[in-house]
Symmetry: C2
Subunit: 272 residues, 2 copies
């Protein structure tokens, strides 16, 4: 059974493996009217990640933690719940203890400023992503590449986009990306990403539900400057979907087709 | 000025970026007769890593922390000091705060059992290392690859050796490695490694001082089975140098030339 820690009440044991080795996962969830948005998807990702890392966590205890957080922090406005799961204390060096006692660490945060709907300014990061297939997609606590990318982000940018060693475009430091190519959408496959976002998956389902074709595959940088490309969007589970109006010196179109994505409505989904 | 935290006294703030993102570094130092062994090398590595990550830390405050730890935990036997440096609390998401207040987190541990001098049993890990050049060599807190490798280590093994995406041999989960090829030694270059170990650097200097040739470059797996290879050693700053007597089903020689490395003497070095 995971130990619940409320960060407004207590600190963390100094021998927690989340601190020592990044040995854990996190979710950042938008809370609206006392309900966790996209709760089923967030829970599924954390449970699947915990299973990959061998950290015991049940759906019932994770859902109970989310419910307890929504009860505890009641706000009229939307807010952001951060849930950290760590493997807990101890073990001999890197080797996890046979019986670990995981921790769920819960904190309440204000919404960040929302980006302008007409689109945001971005740049390609000087920091690349080297995605180990054993960790691909996991929203783990080991996020130094994103920290360095965010630290080096030009001041006028909303986000930096990160490439892989082969030069292909993968994702933003805190968002996933999708290209609109007229007759279809293109986004990098989940198993090539550092973080496979909950809003990425939600947007794929939304677009397919309305009849759009969405392909998952490599996104080469050269596609961006080509006449095929009608637009580029970024997405995450706090701000929703936002068009990109420039990448470095490249101006990108922000056509009607992007504006038809109702970003706000993406947060509403029946808890499956 | 970094805040000193003694783990036998206090926990960690729940918003520490070391926990949130692996945003920090650590050193594991063998303490002998009240003195940190290889102290100058450990300090240099942490200071250089802090500089790469943009975490403010001075040599004077790090050395003072080591001295304070040696004063605090006086033992007749050798023990292990773990020093964690984090960027401290806060910031907006991945982006570090403009004025960070780093933490130095100090803990005292018993020595692990020493490996048998006649050599250890190892296996190639199923987990590969994907080393981002921006993070190469850094003993950062983001160590999930090593955790997964250690977790999957066969029960009869002392260590697992990890390969890069191209199949070349890089390092153990908690050690560096060096091949003895008769007329020279070969070890992977520091800028290709996940962790560039303090004992690796110490051993290179020791061997060169006694007139041996040490080359740094790619170590292909095929070298191990070749007749050129006279032996393989692992090293880290807690246990010193230890020969490998088998890797998976491959038996490796453990000749006299390896035994002439006086592992214990490597811990003695003038504080430069």
């Amino acid at each position: 059974m995971a130990e619940l820690i409320w960060t407004d009440e207590a600190g963390i044991a100094a021998d927690d493996r989340g601190l020592a080795y990044g040995d854990g996962l996190f979710e950042t969830i938008r809370i609206r009217s006392g309900q966790a948005t996209l709760a089923a998807r967030h829970c599924q990702r954390m449970l699947s990640g915990a299973s990959r890392l061998g950290i015991p966590l049940t759906q019932a205890e994770l859902e109970a933690a989310l419910d307890a957080a929504c009860q505890r922090y009641q706000r009229p406005e939307d807010w952001v719940l951060k849930v950290i799961l760590t493997r807990g204390s101890g073990g001999r060096g890197y080797q996890p203890p046979a019986d670990c006692a995981p921790r769920l660490i819960l904190s309440c945060h204000a919404m960040p400023p929302l980006p302008p709907p007409e689109g945001v300014v971005t740049a390609v990061s000087t920091i690349q992503l080297w995605v180990n297939p054993a960790l691909a997609g996991l929203k783990s606590l080991a996020r130094l590449e994103q920290v360095l990318a965010a630290e080096r982000m030009p001041a006028d940018c909303y986000e930096v986009l990160m490439t892989g060693p082969a030069g292909q475009l993968l994702e933003g430091s805190r968002s996933n990306l999708m290209l609109w190519l007229g007759d279809h959408w293109l986004t990098p496959a989940a198993d090539t990403l550092a973080v496979a976002g909950v809003m990425r998956e939600r947007l794929i389902d939304y677009l397919r539900d309305r009849g759009d074709e969405v392909r998952e595959g490599p996104v080469s940088m050269s596609l961006l400057g080509s006449s095929e490309t009608r637009g580029l969007v970024l997405m995450n589970s706090v701000v929703g979907v936002v068009p990109v109006r420039s990448l470095n010196s490249l101006q990108l179109p922000v056509p009607e087709q992007l504006a038809t994505i109702d970003s706000e409505s993406l947060f509403t989904e029946k808890r499956v």
